[in-house]
């Protein structure tokens, strides 16, 4: 089970090149600007946002929902492909795990940004009430963070042990850190059995927990009476939407990582082809739930529902709505159904479209509904009848997105993005099977 040196050379984390440094500095600057804006929001209160008593939730919440959705990629690709023994997943899973960890951590932070009294955060534990969907979120998000971290960490153990060696002379500190984190991994049989078992347990656990996470996220909305949220379709609608957002993000990040790290030999066109099929499955499922969500109320045409649907179909949110539906779902489906469309480059473009569509999709789920309450909006300034995020909201939201990118960047920098040990094992197995054939 020795690992070929070439493999280590190819897959071991490398120092940033110039682009990497510029990218990291760029992200850091955006984060600092966002933190300054957030401090200003803490001092002045949330009047610096464009949220008001009617549009009482805005992009903080829709961004939160986006992060939660994206974090689903860990459950889907890693756990489900693992349990169904799809071996093409090997070079993709680590990146999926990294995205998952970054997204769910940022979800936790983003929801706190929306809280107007973060100084009273502890009340959520001290005075917790179990029937509030927010309390369910308080339980499920940390659970998912822990599971995602473990699902990233346990498969890393052999790789960390491998990386310790070559770095001993050049970077002794890093080598020591890898050594410590590898938890004295030697690759003995007993260790392997234990590791295999632990990963299996977490992979099985993270599927129901991931489904619950998306479900609770949907229930934050559908536990209210509001037109546009009060829908029994919401939980599966959110789960399939999370499937789309997660796999879309995975495609984009994998394309960039492959290009920057020159991993074309390991992440091949056929991997993109498979991912493309996976993504089109996700999009078709999501399209189905979208049709359920919009077609039924349109068909029965209840008055309140029609007011809501008209703002989406032809009203002030029409541009966004049709971009999300056509650009974020229909076009990707049409392109990805063809083999030519599943080539890396076109997949990258489609991936970006899907992620953008997914982000704006959450926006048009959250805000338009709030602007159509049961009683008419009267007696408040005219500006309260519309909502578009303020500069503060954009800066802070930009910072949360930059933070997610920074977590991904740092993890990609210091961790082997393609499992080294596993790739070596698979190559060996391939060779031995070839030998036995000949």
């Amino acid at each position: 089970m020795r690992v070929p040196n070439q493999l280590i050379k190819d897959l071991a984390p490398k120092k940033f090149d110039k682009r990497g440094v510029i990218w990291t500095i760029f992200l850091t600057v955006i984060i600092i600007i966002g933190i300054v804006a957030y401090i200003d929001q803490l001092i002045k209160g949330q009047e610096v946002t464009n949220m008001r008593d009617y549009a009482l939730w805005g992009i903080y919440i829709s961004n939160f929902v986006f992060f939660v959705a994206t974090s689903f990629v860990g459950s889907v690709t890693v756990a489900i492909l693992r349990l169904t023994k799809n071996s093409w997943r090997t070079p993709l899973v680590r990146i999926a795990e990294i995205i998952s960890v970054a997204a769910i951590i940022m979800a936790g932070i983003t929801i706190m940004i929306d809280m107007a009294r973060p100084d009273r955060l502890l009340n959520l534990f001290v005075h917790a009430r179990l029937q509030s969907p927010i309390t369910w979120d308080v339980v499920i998000i940390p659970t998912y963070i822990v599971l995602s971290l473990l699902l990233l960490y346990f498969p890393l153990l052999p790789d960390l042990a491998i990386l310790k060696g070559p770095l001993e002379k050049t970077q002794p500190r890093l080598s020591k850190l890898y050594g410590k984190l590898s938890l004295k991994w030697t690759g003995s049989k007993a260790q392997k059995v234990l590791q295999e078992k632990s990963i299996r347990i977490i992979a099985i656990m993270i599927i129901p927990v991931g489904l619950l996470l998306q479900t609770i996220d949907a229930w934050l909305f559908s536990t209210t009476y509001r037109v546009g949220w009060d829908s029994s379709n919401f939980a599966p609608y959110f789960i399939s939407g999370a499937f789309v957002a997660g796999v879309g993000a995975l495609v984009v990040v994998i394309y960039v990582v492959r290009k920057v790290k020159k991993l074309e030999e390991y992440i091949t066109d056929s991997h993109f082809d498979k991912l493309g099929k996976f993504l089109v499955l996700a999009c078709l499922t999501y399209l189905y739930f979208n049709i359920n969500e919009y077609f039924m109320p349109w068909f029965t045409a209840k008055k309140d529902e029609m007011v809501h649907l008209e703002t989406l179909f032809t009203g002030s949110y029409a541009w966004l709505f049709w971009f999300v539906i056509l650009g974020g779902l229909v076009v990707p489906i049409l392109v990805l159904l063809f083999k030519k469309g599943r080539r890396p480059k076109s997949m990258f473009v489609i991936g970006i479209l899907v992620v953008l569509g997914s982000w704006w999709k959450r926006f048009i789920i959250v805000t338009p509904t709030l602007l159509h309450p049961f009683l008419p909006i009267q007696g408040v300034p005219e500006s309260w009848r519309h909502y578009f995020p303020s500069l503060h909201e954009w800066l802070i939201t930009g910072a949360t997105l930059a933070m997610a990118f920074l977590i991904i960047t740092v993890l990609v920098r210091y961790l082997p993005v393609i499992p080294i040990q596993r790739t070596a094992d698979e190559q060996q197995m391939l060779q031995s099977s070839k030998k036995s054939e000949s």
Binding site: R52, A116, A128, S132, I134, L375, Q378, V380, P381
Partner: protein, 325 residues
């Protein structure tokens, strides 16, 4: 031997003395008790009174047993703020036929609760269900639902339902997530997006600190990053006064009262709640949602004022008058 004898004798004397003392005290006590008992039986008047206990059963008591006790003034006021006044169930009735959109309730409420934002707690909506139905004005307060959706979704029990029917907010606990506002179908909740500038109230804060920093006096003071709303003025109600809007309305639109007592009153008259609702076909807003509001509405039939005339007062974009600067 001699020593031993002395000891036992001393012990005997000691014990005897103690026993004697105890029996003497006991004897005096018994004598006093028996004399009291005999005195009572001696004083029996033979007259009996029929009395009703608090749970409604009739009992007979000898008249000599009936003693006057001091009347407790604050009997109704001693209760847990989160549990509410015992044996009360507060309701409001809004007579839409009388509403002239005078806006007196709104401005009085704004002033009394030191509302400084852009969204009043009392709203007077211009309503018209469809093109062919009559337009009318509809004041809304918090509906103080018996199944309050806001309370269900609150993660920290900051907004709570009391036994006397009130839904109140503990602004010291609210974390500002605004889930209650999303859950309320009546759009009754108002958020403090910034530090409220409540003028004289913040000046007098020290004075009010002890008495008013309570969910029973909403807006006193309003806190940044927390939710406010109509509280049915429990600070008045517990002193047997009417809520501010009920008291000031020049057209007697609002009735306020106790459902258990089956009476509601405005500043002019007191009427039976059940009769009023029956005669005037009272209804509640969005009954179909199952929120069970505590506010009843009487249909806008035979209106006192022409709609067009009332429309003059209507301000589409303003509910809190700003001091001219």
């Amino acid at each position: 031997m001699e020593k031993n004898n002395k000891k036992t004798r001393r012990k005997f004397l000691d014990k005897g003395l103690k026993l004697g003392l105890v029996s003497a005290i006991g004897g005096i006590g018994l004598a006093k008790l028996s004399s009291k008992l005999s005195a009572n039986t001696n004083n029996e008047s033979g007259e009996t009174l029929e009395l009703m206990t608090t749970d409604g059963t009739l009992i007979k008591v000898d008249s000599s047993e009936v003693v006057e006790v001091e009347h407790t003034q604050d009997h109704d006021k001693k209760y847990n703020v989160r549990e509410g006044m015992p044996n009360r169930k507060f309701v409001m009735v809004v007579d839409l036929a009388r509403c002239k959109n005078a806006l007196v309730c709104q401005s009085a409420c704004n002033k009394h609760h030191y509302i400084t934002g852009d969204n009043a707690w009392i709203k007077i909506y211009k309503m018209q269900e469809s093109k062919d139905t009559a337009p009318y004005f509809m004041p809304t307060t918090c509906q103080h639902c018996d199944h309050p959706p806001c309370v269900t979704v609150c993660p920290v029990d900051a907004t709570f339902k009391r036994r006397d029917g009130l839904v109140l907010i503990d602004n010291e606990r609210c974390i500002g997530c605004r889930f209650c506002m999303a859950a309320c179908p009546y759009s009754t909740r108002v958020f403090n997006w910034n530090e409220p500038d409540q003028g004289d109230i913040t000046l007098n804060m020290d004075m009010y600190q002890h008495e008013y920093l309570s969910p029973e006096y909403a807006g006193m003071p309003s806190l940044k990053g927390t939710v406010d709303k109509c509280d049915f003025c429990p600070h008045f109600v517990k002193n047997n006064e009417l809520p501010k809007c009920v008291e000031v309305c020049p057209n007697n639109v609002f009735y306020f009262g106790d459902k258990y007592e089956d009476v509601v009153s405005n500043s002019d008259e007191t009427v039976r709640l059940s009769e009023l609702l029956e005669e005037r076909a009272g209804y509640r807003l969005m009954e179909g949602l199952g929120t069970e509001p505590s506010v009843y509405y009487l249909p806008p039939k035979d209106r006192l004022v022409d709609f067009e005339e009332a429309l003059k007062n209507y301000k589409e974009f303003e509910s809190v008058e700003k001091p001219e600067s």
